[in-house]
Symmetry: D3
Subunit: 158 residues, 6 copies
């Protein structure tokens, strides 16, 4: 049995994240989605909200669970018996930072990171861009799940 870990801030979960989670869930026996409890910037949604939005989004996939972590990702991974980390690769600007993290995580624990190219339609999608667009009143239908769209509009309503 192989357990894959998909880490992220998920503030909020986008269809780009779900693309990677779903494809991971067809390759690996189980997928654990790990929400970073304290991202470096003030999040739009609380940890519980981010987890709830994710729970609803991954409900259709039978072998995906949601959890959260503080501290070092690899400590969490070891504690949960994770076999591999899976991350999406969108564009070349992700490359160096992700390689840096992957090498460090492998050095710390031996756990490998596998990268999956994000699907075309989400290759330039970032949660920060989605937040900016919705905050300024733009439409991101098709880029996030319906229930996330609703939650974002509500959050930005004044």
């Amino acid at each position: 049995m192989t357990l894959a870990l998909c880490p992220g801030s998920f503030d909020p979960v986008t269809n780009g994240h779900l693309d990677i989670i779903e494809r991971s869930s067809t390759t690996f026996d189980e997928v654990l989605v790990a929400v970073i409890a304290n991202p470096s910037k003030e999040p739009l949604f609380t940890l519980d909200e981010r987890k709830d939005l994710l729970e609803k989004a991954v409900a259709p996939f039978g072998n995906v669970r949601i959890d959260a972590f503080e501290g070092l990702l690899v400590d969490f991974a070891l504690a949960r018996g994770v076999d591999v980390i899976v991350k999406g690769l969108r564009a070349v600007s992700d490359f160096d930072y992700e390689m840096q993290m992957a090498h460090m995580n492998r050095r710390l624990t031996g756990i490998d990171t596998f990268f999956l190219p994000t699907s075309h339609e989400y290759s330039y999608l970032a949660a920060s861009l989605v937040r900016d667009v919705v905050r300024l009143g733009g439409d991101v239908e098709g880029l996030v799940p319906e229930h996330v769209l609703v939650a974002m509009r509500e959050r930005y309503r004044r």
Copy 2:
């Protein structure tokens, strides 16, 4: 009649910006330079100052107007009847972010972004670098218009 939009923070306008604006003005019938009213970081010059410095710099070009916007760039573009957005491409590090914005803007409104390679002599020029150098007492003659140089020195004088 084709109306091109050149957006930016212009804090302050550099010769790199003017290079793109001038070349746009020879290709398109009219060029609208749109100053972002509230850039993400505290600007060195106020919106009015940034507009004034620009006005003076583009005076030689007959078909260039200055305006400012808040909110989503493409909402402003639609309201003004803009046909295309034009941006400079300096170095490869601009690439992914600019592609991301161009795809999102096209998705939101159908308005395309055309990229123009910045001229050699400005290919490593950024307003932030110009600010840093002037703040620390360095000389940026030839990188910004003369009146911008004067305004920057005055601003940083203690």
Copy 3:
């Protein structure tokens, strides 16, 4: 009146090329598609075949003409009264080579090159990849026009 030039080998024309040609034709008054007569590698289709496949593909766009050239692109551009060159930018690996060509062409004649980001669905599409896949019996439906698909299959049939 602004005349834009879209150069290429078009061996054969793909939907990625057509994406750029079509979007150019909505921004500029006229678009001249210029086929490189003698590409560096032995082409799959002759110059006349490549032009014919293009003619058929651009028929729906009213303001697009097909021509061919030998020698320096910018000599051809000057002779035809071209105002700007338009090229697609797919991925970061295109960047340096295209910047090199754009700077040289501007240096030689003053003619500027504008870059348009290729649409998502064609961002990893190259004529060479399409040829390889069809040659090996794979299916590229949706990546080239129907009549190009037919021509390619016929060409590779033994």
Copy 4:
């Protein structure tokens, strides 16, 4: 049971290849190493030689088999019941080409490609560079298995 495919020319197999194969073999149930029968350039070693050098190199890993293919990689993958393709990512220059292939292969068959960052010590290693160095009399100990070093020296001896 998950079957992973590691394709390549392996002309000859390097320690960089073995790094990816070994790490794949600890994550997936079985690994099939697929040698491209007819690489685009004239190979240094025949197909049988390349397979033999590989066989010997992967002998320590219990769940790795060697095979060869002609034609489309994904046709071979489908015929063998492959679940995922695994490739190493060395440096950023690999990125665009590999993304292009990964997207095309997924489009043709739905089979995903997972990328594994090559270990530090092999991040600038390529079979072509190893061939060049040995041909010119240089020493590549530590970069290829001992038996590959012997075979290369013999091949280049005049």
Copy 5:
């Protein structure tokens, strides 16, 4: 006599920094390591602490001195009679920013910047990553000198 300058925040010095300093010291007659007094972010170690950690780390190299500077790097370089600046190049994401700085520094003073590729084992090493890992309780042995490891653990102890 050629004097080379290695500038940085050194918060704290890593084995990646020492790799560049040591290799510079074997090529140039003297190496001056210049600590940026006021880095843009709040440093983990004070200026004096950063200098002390460096002093101890470079003690084995006979021709390396430590100093600090405020203001423009090139003003400091001119005042000290520096001939060249030397910087490490790790990954491609360093490239554009470093080129930008190198061009600006040469424009301001004529002083050239030479880049040295960071050794493999440190090619994905950054002081910020080291700080993050130690702060979260991870082990970075082999990535920083022993006395730096001790100082970091003490600093992060609660």
Copy 6:
């Protein structure tokens, strides 16, 4: 005394090459320019012609000598007592290949490669591009020395 080596095909020498050679000659005591005797592609100029064009071009610099080599660059470097290799870095597309060569050369002999950013005006200049433009009748004045221009025009005259 520090001896720097500037290797290349120099087919023919361009102002971009001379930019790097001249700046190396002001930093290092002596510069040895090493012409690759047998470049991978059929050269436009013979080895002796390439050396002669170089000799004339570097005549103004007092401490630069021209030589040629076959085989491994680092074997030649060791035989000549070279201390460092110096190469120009133009654009990001040079990066990975140059890093690969630098790491291999250091591994083989311990000789380090220092990279110097090419001056702005030559940042998109390549000997191959110069050859293409002259062959097709274009003007490259200012990109190569006058005597190289004459030699190229003569060579391409039919």
